[in-house]
């Protein structure tokens, strides 16, 4: 019997149950609306914020400005992390030089960089980008590094004995050879980067979803805070879905070979 029910229906019923309980708890009066606003109130707030500026901008404008910052930091992390990781996988000496530094850096939470981000960049665009960078950088580097290490040594030697420069080896052998690993890294990076961004926005900027949250908190509007959380979750989910699609494409293409 249970097997007949399609899987997506289970997901839907999970969501319905969650929101039902939430609404129930508030409606019955077990918790005050000031402590936990009901889902209906949150949806109402969401619609309001889409049409009326809050903290200077409409909700989607805040979301866009967050996404813009995220992309800057994320692209920067990939642009530095991937080539560096590939080179570390290729050159033993570089590996020895970078690895100790890197291993100590990667356990420092992105938010721990906030004081420095504020000190160096004030409320400028640089601060949040730096925080996202610190969050997204490690998986980019680690996965490129592991990918490069796993590239068949014979392919590198074949390239060398057929006259390829180190640049060509990196671009035509190491990069495609470690692509599945790199794409998996990019997915993890996106998650970590997006999480760190919100943290950064709570502190150092004056627009964005994180900023909406702090403003909501200061205006004693918990439904605004939850709305912002919802937007964060949905955008994070969307990013993950897109990268998951790319990842499965790449890995299915590579598996054949």
């Amino acid at each position: 019997m249970i097997r007949r029910i399609p899987l997506w229906l289970w997901s839907v019923s999970g969501i319905v149950l969650f929101f039902g309980l939430w609404q129930g708890v508030v409606s019955v009066g077990w918790v005050s609306e000031f402590v936990l606003p009901s889902p209906i109130k949150v949806v109402d707030r969401f619609l309001t914020l889409m049409g009326r500026p809050f903290a200077g901008f409409l909700l989607w404008e805040h979301a866009l400005s967050s996404l813009g910052r995220f992309m800057s930091g994320y692209v920067l992390a990939a642009a530095i992390g991937i080539p560096l990781g590939l080179m570390m996988g290729r050159f033993r000496l570089l590996d020895e030089i970078i690895t100790p530094l890197f291993e100590s850096y990667r356990y420092v939470a992105p938010l721990a960089w906030v004081p420095f981000a504020a000190l160096w960049f004030g409320t400028g665009i640089g601060g949040p980008i730096m925080i996202i960078f610190t969050g997204a950088f490690a998986p980019c580097l680690v996965n490129a590094y592991r990918g490069a290490k796993l590239v068949d040594m014979h392919l590198i030697e074949a390239a060398q004995t057929h006259g390829a420069s180190e640049f060509r080896i990196a671009r035509e052998v190491l990069l495609p050879g470690s692509l599945p690993s790199i794409v998996a890294g990019l997915r993890i990076s996106a998650g970590l980067g997006w999480q760190s961004l919100i943290g950064a926005e709570l502190i150092v900027v004056s627009s964005g979803i994180g900023y909406v949250m702090t403003q909501g908190q200061m205006n004693l509007s918990p439904e605004t805070v939850i709305t912002a959380m919802l937007v964060i979750g949905l955008i994070g989910l969307a990013l993950d879905v897109i990268l998951r699609m790319i990842e499965s494409r790449v890995s299915s293409k590579w598996k054949r070979e």
Partner: protein, 264 residues
Amino acid sequence: MSEIVIDNVTKIFGAASAEPFTAIEDFDFNVKDQEFISVVGPSGCGKTTLMRMVAGLESITDGEIRVADKPVVGPGPDRAVVFQQFALFPWKTVRENIVFGMKSVGASKAEQNDAVEFYLGLMKMEGTEDKYPHQLSGGMQQRVAIARSYAINPGVLLMDEPFGALDAQTRTIMQEELVRVSRDNPRTVMFITHSVEEAVYLADRVIVMGRNPGHIREVIDVASTRQSEKWAEEPIDDVMEMSSFTHLRGQVWRLLREQMGADM
């Protein structure tokens, strides 16, 4: 002129470690320009290490290797290597694989197209240029790898058991083809193999190596017999039954057996 001069070469792995391993000791040999040399020997005799040193993929502990009068210091397109594992780029098509080395040495687009057409014709593989390696059989893949190496016109071709991963039938066909291709496009070739028959059938001279540490046990001349007995005019199966062939094969085989006996 691409002569290979192996001048008193010694290779010690982990020379600075507590347990250094001498793979090759005082190896002294000259491969003449456009000569086809096979190297056979029991496993662990260092034949692959020798080839890798000529390729520049392995450092030399002592002595020197010169190719066309230039000391070998690293890998280069004047010494293309054909690997047992084919080592084709799986994300590149047959065409892209064949022209890979040509791009490094600055061949024009027209030259690249000509080479693809020429080698696929030579290997009887017309129409496969847009296929990927995984869509080809092992024999076909190795043909592409051989074409990739020939296409850069290297003075020296190094082959590390190139037919070792192929089934017996394909292997025989490939041996025959290699004789044909290398007759029409002579190069200095160093061919590493486990197979005594293959070594004798292909080579002008066969180096029989011994181990502990790797050294030359004996060098057997094949070229003069091949010419006087006209092997090139016969199919491979017939050659392998000729008494001139079986005699040389027996000679190499006995040398190898002695080696193995000495270890037991």
